[in-house]
């Protein structure tokens, strides 16, 4: 399977659009998730209140980020959780690798973690002979295929049950093809129970890290996150530095906003609050708990008042589920770990505006993503901001973003300058429009890429200014 890249967004999107299976699988999933969300927020007054609170909590916590991170580290350390800091994916991988090697681990059981995808952990550990096994059902299926998740909440959303049955037939011993979802899940359960018992290390993400108490919160339905954080001797949690919240009371509104926005559930089956490794007298739970805090471009977003809002994200995926672009091309076409609208505003900080390719422009700016975001991230405004940053140098007083001005084009800049001059000189402008009308018959029939989905424009016989003048006379 070819690696997708944000630099090849257009051909990847075209390929996805041409696949009836992808179109159908996503259509079904998007309809389901949108309906579920809308049912979960059926009372608009209550919905507004909880979402406003969730947004306010995220804003407040981000405004105190460095202090909260230090408190989190102090409280975690006091509880016996060992805290590690990583600036880059390579540093995070090195920390996790060292912990695994010290355990002489051959198998790591991994709960769902987008940050582990971000750092490419599975591949890194595989290179050292350590099998990092995904245990979330969707992630498990995707990993068997050598594929990548196409949605941050439902990783195997791009596949239907027939395709999953075929995957299991190929990889699981004694599996017989079936269209029965219960049987498919039972097969996955069986295969993974062995892994939970054998794994020396369990790895998970973190949904909220509470500074007040040094507590790591995990949200899930399946129980695999609990398995990974309970059965192996060592539990490693990996998360971005933005996930910290100030106090315990902050998690109630965030949790409610998260599950309802993500899958329309009032609550998930499990909410797992880890505050320390196994204590004396306890029979189970990991003997060591480690927390890896990753920056990887987040501090760049933090530095700017507007772009900081990117970090309010609680990873619910609602923006994807409501995006007309994502719903048609699916998650793989973006070529980034975080697809869809939120991916378009996070990836430029992770990868740079240059490597993020066309992502900030891959939007119709319809505004649906901003409307459904439970924590009020103005995604369309941030996309427009990133478009400006990609075209221009950094403005005074702002440190340049990674890949600043990567899309600057001298010809385009010159044309815009010319137009600006023309627009401020009415006589020349009128002469220009007069000439444009006279030259209409000679316009080329094809206008390159721009004309692919558009009809070549025809100038009106009379300019607007003349029409207005005539109307005034009547």
């Amino acid at each position: 399977m070819a690696e997708h890249s944000p630099r090849r967004f257009t051909p990847q999107a075209q390929e996805a659009l041409a696949s009836p299976v992808i179109r159908q699988n996503f259509r079904g999933a998007m309809d389901y998730l949108r309906k579920a969300r809308s049912n979960a927020f059926s009372d608009p007054v209550e919905a507004d209140a909880v979402l406003a609170k969730a947004e306010a909590v995220r804003r407040r916590c981000l405004s105190q980020l460095p202090a909260l991170l230090e408190t989190l580290e102090q409280r975690c350390t006091a509880n016996g959780i060992q805290v590690h800091w990583a600036e880059t994916p390579a540093e995070a991988n090195a920390i996790i690798r060292a912990l695994c090697q010290r355990e002489d681990a051959k198998l790591v059981a991994k709960g769902k973690s987008m940050v582990s995808e971000e750092i490419g952990l599975n591949k890194h550990l595989a290179g050292l002979g350590i099998d990092c096994r995904e245990t979330d059902m969707g992630e498990f299926i995707v990993q068997l295929d050598g594929d990548r998740p196409s949605h941050i909440i439902m990783p195997a959303i791009h596949k239907n049950k027939d395709e999953i049955s075929a995957t299991f037939e190929q990889h699981l011993p004694d599996f017989e093809a079936t269209r029965d979802v219960d049987q498919l899940i039972a097969a996955g359960r069986q295969a993974l129970r062995e892994k939970f018992q054998a794994a020396e290390v369990g790895l998970t993400g973190v949904n909220f890290a509470v500074a007040e108490t040094g507590t790591l919160c995990l949200v899930e339905n399946e129980g695999n996150g609990r398995m990974c954080s309970t059965i192996p001797r060592v539990h490693i949690a990996v998360t971005g530095i933005e996930k910290v919240v100030e106090q315990l009371s902050d998690i109630a509104p965030l949790y409610s906003a998260l599950t309802r926005s993500a899958t329309g559930q009032a609550i998930t089956t499990y909410f797992n609050m880890v505050s320390s490794p196994r204590r004396p007298g306890e029979w189970d739970g990991p003997e060591e708990v480690h927390l890896v805090l990753l920056d990887n471009g987040r501090s760049q977003a933090f530095a700017d008042d507007e772009l900081r809002q990117t970090l309010q994200c609680i990873r619910c995926g609602a923006c994807m589920n409501h995006c007309p672009v994502y719903g048609r091309i699916g998650g793989h076409a973006y070529g980034t770990v975080y697809p869809g609208p939120i991916g378009k505003i996070i990836s430029p900080h992770l990868l740079g505006l240059d490597d993020a390719g066309e992502l900030p422009t891959a939007s119709s700016l319809c505004g649906a993503c901003g409307e459904v975001c439970p924590v009020g991230i103005p995604i369309p405004a941030l996309l427009q901001r990133l478009r400006v940053e990609a075209k221009h140098g950094a403005s005074a007083g702002h440190p340049p973003l990674k890949g600043q001005g990567a899309k600057a084009n001298r010809l385009e800049a010159l044309a815009m300058k010319g137009f600006a001059w023309l627009a401020r000189h009415p006589r020349c402008y009128r002469a220009g429009t007069w000439l444009a009308r006279r030259l209409a018959p000679f316009y080329p029939r094809r206008l390159g890429a721009w004309g692919q989905c558009r009809v070549t424009p025809k100038p009106a016989p009379k300019p607007l200014s003349q029409l207005l003048k005539e109307q005034r006379r009547v």
Binding site: D136, A156, N221, T230, I267, M273, A303
Partner: protein, 215 residues
């Protein structure tokens, strides 16, 4: 102190974000009118999440458990060392019951292959979402409600709170959380295959909840 930490914090400290201007509204989730309303909501929410809920007075708890065990043909039961309902659990379980009293490393194989059902005693419950609160520890191992295919959880009706925020505001939570505080709101489930709900993904396929009404 690690270099990475210093550099990350230094970058964050260069910025001085202003505190949000708008005052934060208080969070106001579900409040039950009275105890019966709370109990009714708790039970209906849990049932909607595919759990089987029964209510009984304390004196018939053992009989209730016995009937449950018999009905589901559970032969090997596991429970924690001690708790408010331990006497009833022992009485109901008899010779089928064993106690979780070995470290995970020695107990893993038994736990994963031999046990039919784990019996847990909840510390509290939440009416709003139909949620059980497990305060894990030496007498309440966290894997009891996770690894066996059936999970039985007993909870006192008086321990039902209105909402999650009330739980988090309890002094016990703020002053000393357990190793692992767990919220359980149904049997393990997934919709990862074509949005079709299936139970028993990794944890229990079935969740039985017994609400002890008079304590």
């Amino acid at each position: 102190m690690s270099e990475a930490k210093n550099r990350i914090l230094a970058r964050l400290r260069q910025v001085n974000p202003s505190a949000p201007e708008r005052p934060e509204q208080p969070y106001a989730p579900y409040l039950g009118e009275d105890a019966p309303a709370r109990l009714a909501r708790f039970c209906s929410r849990l049932e909607a999440a595919h759990a089987e809920v029964v209510r009984c007075p304390q004196q018939s708890l053992a009989a209730q458990l016995q009937a449950m065990v018999k009905g589901a043909s559970l032969t090997r039961l596991l429970a924690g060392n001690d708790g408010p309902f331990s006497a009833a659990i022992s009485q109901a379980g008899g010779s089928r019951l064993s106690c979780f009293d070995k470290p995970m490393s020695e107990f893993k194989a038994v736990l994963f292959t031999d046990v039919d059902a784990g019996i847990s005693q909840a510390w509290g419950a939440i009416a709003d979402t139909g949620t059980l609160v497990l305060w894990t520890g030496p007498n309440e191992p966290r894997s009891l409600s996770l690894v066996p295919p059936v999970s039985i959880i007993i909870v006192a009706a008086s321990a039902i709170m209105d909402n999650f925020a009330q739980l988090l505001a309890k002094p016990q939570c703020r002053q000393g959380l357990p190793t692992n505080l767990l919220l359980v709101s149904g049997p393990s489930k997934t919709a990862d295959i074509q949005q079709t709900l299936a139970y028993g993904a990794h944890g229990p396929r079935q969740l039985y909840v017994v609400v002890v009404e008079d304590c």
